[in-house]
């Protein structure tokens, strides 16, 4: 072990994470180019969806100062990254980065992302994974960023075969990663609440 460096230790993002990562929510404008929770542009391929929910503490209360990031494959199941050398039937979409960030709202406590539904993609050993969105959650009081995944309730056959979901022993815990689908005023909305602690605690990952 001695020939390796130790990873730098994590520290909480604190209550003012918005300043650095989404300054508009902190209340000011400074950068020309801002990162946001809008992942899909007009030209992006795929089904438009909204993901929304609360981040909930150990008393059941929603927290209003969380910051979330998502990372996902495109509609064909390919990540916009040079190390995803998928087959020709999973082409890159030049209009989709697959990454976004947003905060829970100071007033409503909801977060949301407007994106497209990702495609399925294989594990490194070839087993297929169900479509999913990778989440990373940080906030005041979170000492090290929490990783989890959101799966889609309308993909029950793929979910039943997903290697990660199958690792979860308790069905009730597996359900914490599966977001129900709802049509609301013409928008497809997946509701994904993240429970940090207590009843229905979300399955978090050590990846």
């Amino acid at each position: 072990m001695s020939s390796y460096l130790d990873e730098t230790a994590s520290q909480t993002a604190g209550p003012y994470v918005h300043i650095g990562l989404i300054p508009a929510q902190a209340g000011f404008d400074i950068f020309q180019n801002n990162f946001s929770n809008q992942l899909a542009g007009a030209e992006t391929k795929g089904e438009r969806i909204r993901i929304e929910g609360y981040v909930i503490d150990g008393t059941g209360a929603p927290i209003r100062d969380a910051l979330l990031e998502i990372w996902q494959a495109n509609a064909a199941g390919r990540y916009n990254h040079p190390e995803d050398k998928a087959s020709p039937d999973a082409p890159l979409d030049p209009n989709f980065r697959g990454w976004g960030r947003g905060g829970t709202d100071f007033r409503t406590a909801l977060y949301h992302f407007d994106t497209i539904k990702p495609g399925a993609l294989p594990m490194l050993d070839g087993r297929m994974q169900a479509p999913h969105v990778n989440f990373w959650i940080t906030a005041r009081g979170i000492n090290i960023g929490l990783q989890t995944r959101m799966y889609f309730a309308d993909e029950s056959a793929a979910n039943a075969a997903d290697p990660l979901l199958r690792l979860i022993e308790q069905d009730s815990r597996r359900q914490t990663l599966i977001a129900p689908r709802e049509a609301r005023d013409g928008t497809i909305v997946y509701r994904f609440d993240i429970r940090l602690q207590g009843d229905g605690e979300t399955v978090f990952l050590d990846v």
Partner: protein, 238 residues
Amino acid sequence: MEKTGQYYQRDRLIHPPAYTPGYKTSVLRSPRLALLSVEQSLSDITGPVFGADEIGLLDNDLLRNYAKTGEPIGERMIVHGRVLDQDARPLAGVLVEFWQANASGKYRHVNDTYKAAIDPNFGGCGRALTDANGFYTFRSIKPGPYPWRNRLNDWRPAHIHFSIFGHGFSQRLITQMYFEGDPLIRHCPMLNGIPDDGARQRLIAPLDLNASIPLDSLAYRFDIVLRGRRGTYFENGQ
């Protein structure tokens, strides 16, 4: 040879655990159940790639990126360092973002109620991409300490928040940099939530007099290490 494989298992003993009761807000925001350990896939090995065209010319100059009527008040300083992985390989082209309080310990944030003065010329955030050798640099003023509601008389040591992307989403990290010699460091419940003394010490940036600019700015050095990764020679060469 460039490594492209899975990332080393994260050594969680060098990180603060989720539950650190000395930092009261962690009590209700810490998962109680074990993390699920899973094989990495492209979901974890890949991550967003950022380009120089997304970063503005003044984004790493906090003396000027929010200057309205003049420069911000405070001690001028340079913060610089390298982003490496656990094999000491430099990570090029990774996004480093940072934010901090002003010289009086006040944040430009709608939720900051501290009575100290806001600085009209200081935004308090910036970002940079690492160069081919993993170096980043930015210029700012030294942040002040400030009180926070934890115990009634808790004060944060001067610090800068860092958010770092590696090449894969599983390298994602947020941390804080502290300043050598700050007497508040030993009282800090956030820093002291890290169980390993070496890991705590590596968050304290030493004064780097050689990198300071004579008659202009002091400098501090803060190197950042992200998770390393296995080579895939045998997997690829089968």
